[in-house]
Amino acid sequence: MNEPDLSVSLGRLRLKNPVMPASGTFNFGKEYAEYFDLNQMGAVVNKSVMLQPRQGNAPPRIVETPCGMLSSIGLPSQGIEEFLTVQLPFMRALECAAIVSVSGTSAEEFGELVSVLDRAGGVDALELNLSCPNFVDKVIFATDCGLMAEVLQECRRRTSLPLIAKLSPNVTDIVQMARLAEKHGADMLCAVNTFTGMAIDVRTRRPVLGTVTGGLSGPAIKPIVLRMVWQITQAVGLPVIACGGISNGTDAVEFLLAGAAAVQVGTANFINPLAIPETIAGIRQYMLDSGPHSVTEIIGAAWRRSAAGR
């Protein structure tokens, strides 16, 4: 049987397959190198690096919820200096695309990180984490049109590398935010970061998380994210990387059919260190069983079925 072609192109960024880790669930790869060959991945994505070292939020930082988890980690970071000498060389040495996730507390800080990484070399794309719900001051850039535009413009000005805008689901109209990102220079979109939520301990009568609210991730959010990807990809021309509850090959195929050009596996890594290679194998098996030769042919295939009224 013909080996299916799993490669995808996201604008200028070409990946050997559409599967990569979600930022913040994979550190920068080292921990999972013991469990599988990281070179199998379409890309590696680090936990967002900040300009200065940061400690992150006060515990408790995580709590399990039905089919999901709430987390409020608060972007602990080793800072860009250590990132350039330790983490980036590791990512660069892998035989897959190196996507560097950055986060800042201001447009200026985002811009500075982008400049440094632009000069560093060996970075294939930059993912702008505009949507962490757990900064101490709780500012989510991607929920404010003005702030998001400002950050994107500043970053665009400083690099020609492909820029991925990671959107927040905590908005009224995700399509409007996607259009705004497109207008202000994003080359790709990542949809989406976590949903803000909270849990209360009925015994202590207090919020469980140290920061009261956190971000919901895992299978619980998958149907909502699928709907968002479905809407965004039909409204905006940019390639979309889907992120939200994807745990296996079937989940990934659903998102590709909904229009995503690639997928990120996040919370599933915590439970199953082999979630990424199993997702890649699952897509391949789907293609062997019932797909066309190239995975690009199933991207958005569900729109056509929907339009044709099945």
Partner: protein, 267 residues
């Protein structure tokens, strides 16, 4: 700094036995030779005994017993919620997904003379592997087992063969003050190298305090909500004193779960 367990692996083990150990407490014995082979006291495993997405996360357990000859390990746990309830309903022969061994092994003194072991409730669990290791190295263990009530004093008879002495304390018999007194006497009469404590912040604080006054190294098993067990979720932080001033966050899964009480802050 040792920040990574290089022997950790993901395997499917088999449940050999699951027996009640007290009200809502169970001991699970599983066959997982690849994991047991490299496991050491102080380390833990992340277990999943279901194929569904709810409950979502694995559950962490300290090693209760390590049987290298049989390639088996045991964990002792209390049914606290959905996940532990599901594990308590598994049957011999059932598959069990095992991720481990995780965490940092206890840094034993080469030839420990005497150690104190203090466990409350299911916190007595990891004291067995420590007592065994201390004996293997030619030392003596003294165990102080604490619980809310007599029926929650777990596995005490099984612990006796590994220890020079085992004392029990229950809350209904004024356990807190009696335990403190017993520990003070022990510290005075025996040249303890180390004291390990698990299952109670109150007891950890007591050991920290006596450790400062006495001349032993105190250690506590820290319990922090944990998703991955391998250092990527950054969830399981404990505050540890930083050289100079203030504190930093340390991941219990990588730097722990056993922390020196001279460093970790008990909250």
């Amino acid at each position: 700094m040792f920040l990574h367990c290089f022997w950790a692996m993901l395997i499917t083990g088999t449940i050999l036995d699951l027996r009640p150990a007290g009200p809502e407490y169970f001991v699970l014995r599983a066959h997982a030779p690849q994991v047991v082979q490299h496991a050491a006291p102080g380390q833990f495993v992340m277990l999943q005994g279901w194929g569904e997405q709810d409950p979502l996360l694995r559950r962490p357990f300290d090693f209760h017993r390590l049987d290298r000859e049989a390639g088996a390990f045991e964990v002792l746990f209390k049914v606290k919620g959905h996940g532990t309830a599901m594990i308590s309903r598994l049957r011999p022969g059932d598959p069990l997904s095992v991720l481990g061994p995780l965490g940092r092994p206890i840094p034993f003194h080469e030839a420990p003379k005497a150690v104190g072991l203090i466990g409350r409730g299911s916190g007595v669990s990891p004291m067995f592997t420590i007592a065994e290791e201390v004996r293997r190295r030619g030392g003596r263990s003294y165990a102080l087992v604490s619980a809310r009530s007599p029926d929650r004093l777990l596995c005490v008879d099984e612990l006796r063969p590994f220890c020079q002495a085992v004392w029990t304390f229950t809350d209904d018999a004024g356990g807190g003050a009696a335990l403190r007194q017993a520990l003070e006497t022990l510290v005075r009469d025996e040249a303890l190298d180390a004291v390990f404590t698990c299952g109670s912040n109150r007891l950890a604080s007591l050991v920290a305090q006596l450790g400062q006054e006495g001349h032993f190294a105190g250690y506590a098993f820290m319990d922090a909500p944990m998703a991955c067990g391998v250092g990527t979720c950054k969830g399981c932080v404990c505050r540890v004193r930083r050289d100079g001033a203030g504190y930093r966050y340390a991941l219990a899964c990588l730097e722990g779960p056993v922390f020196p009480l001279s460093e970790v802050l008990i909250e």
